[in-house]
């Protein structure tokens, strides 16, 4: 009886083994190529990205159609496209950063640490670096900040945040610590991204001991970008 049982189990296991060998061969035979799971994950990512872009473009088309409709109504109504154009002009002036803004949001104060250095500790550990400010601003953007300024300098797509000795240069203006970062957006989301225990700001405060304070406000004012922008190399391209 015992020997019978053993034999049955072995036969069973062999069947399973054979089954697997068959599947593997079938897999390999189909194409003689090995597609890794990572390739599939990459493909899925690319698909996700294309779908996202399709959505965006569709929205743009819808807004383009609407604007054309407004033009047509304005012209057929006997007027000119001037009012519609003026509205677009003001809208883009605001979006591009040339209008003072106000709204709910947060203010972050970032300053060097007060504490003493440990023995042999690198003094760099207790001062604010340009990368610190850069990452905090990036985190605020991730949390949906609609406008950001540092010590009154409006953050634009071309804004640089660079160390210059003991100071940081922003939009070609130089500032020393403390750095006051204002952001307009959903106050809860904004403060969460700074206060979260996984955030970079948390690391700066708790591990390095830098001064970091965050406050939520119902009404923050952020001033417009004050310099002039002129281009030497860039030209707009139509129809792309």
């Amino acid at each position: 009886m015992k020997i019978q049982l053993n034999r049955v189990v072995i036969i069973f296991l062999c069947i399973i083994l054979g089954f697997f060998i068959a599947i593997q061969t079938k897999n390999v035979q189909e194409d003689y190529s090995f597609v890794s799971l990572r390739t599939i994950a990459d493909l899925q990512n690319l698909i996700k990205k294309e779908k996202e872009e399709l959505n965006n473009i569709s929205e743009l088309i819808v807004s383009g159609k609407n604007r054309l409709l407004e033009y047509e109504t304005a012209v057929s109504g006997g007027g000119s496209i001037r009012d519609v154009l003026a509205k677009e002009h003001d809208q883009f002036k605001m979006i591009s950063g040339f209008v003072d803004l106000k709204g709910p949001g947060i203010i972050v104060w970032l300053s060097d640490s007060d504490r003493e250095l440990y023995e042999w500790e690198d003094p760099n550990n207790v001062i604010v670096h340009d990368l610190d400010v850069l990452i905090i601003v990036n985190d605020l953007k991730t949390a949906g900040a609609e406008a950001i300024s540092i010590n009154g300098q409006r953050i634009m797509s071309t804004t640089e945040i660079q160390c210059a000795g003991a100071t940081i240069t922003i939009n070609n203006h130089t500032y020393g610590q403390p750095f006051i970062i204002r952001a307009i957006g959903d106050p809860d989301t904004l403060s969460a991204v700074i206060k979260s225990p996984e955030s970079y700001a948390f690391l700066l405060k708790e591990v390095y001991g830098l001064g970091l304070e965050v406050s939520v406000y119902e009404n923050i004012e952020i001033s417009k970008f004050n310099n002039d922008i002129s281009w030497e190399y860039l030209t707009p391209k139509e129809g792309e």
Partner: protein
Amino acid sequence: MKDLRGKIAFGVLCAILGFIISLQFKTVRGNTGGLLSTQKAQQLALELKELRTEKTALMEELTEWEIRLKEYEISEADESFIIKNLNKDLERYQIISGYKTVGGPGIIITIDDPIQEYPRQSNESFIMYNYDLLLGIVNKLNGAGAEAISINDQRYTSATEIYYTSNSVLINSVPTIPPFTIKAVGNPESLEAALNIRFGIVQEMREMYNLQVSIKKENNIVIPRYNKTINFKYAKPSDTIS
């Protein structure tokens, strides 16, 4: 006694085998939805191709609408000085907010993970994990006078975030994966020099992180427009300051 020990060992081995088998099934099914790898890959590739065709078609449609809008604006501008100025300013603001495709001389930077001799152990990508390096490069380009920047064809705007999540880096909320291609319009020499200085960020990327970084100067770079419509939900114009 020996018999029993043998049987127990056998039983444990079977249990392990069964566990591994079910794990294998689960992984593959989880990733491919029950199909063989190659079939799934082909299916995805086909879907990707269709999406790309659809996107090209949509982009053409968008361009058509914009041409029609432009026709209106030009015809009206001929009649009015004010409208002409409004148009000019509007275009400036559109370029600054990233709503227009732009071109010019500049540089193209390609960043990829280090070359692996053995197949990668985990799915972690070095450059994605250290996404702050991407931030640093954009920052250096801005400091060196870049007039427009894009990362993997996503226009870098004043609100653009670079956010690392589990499988990809979100830029303008669009998932991207390495290799990362950063294009910048500006003075090609200045831009290249700023990145290549000794102990600068590119040197750090190459030596400390072993990333593959290549910088090429080009005379005619095209930087695409930002594709989303922006609507401020919290910010409103303020009449009080400056």
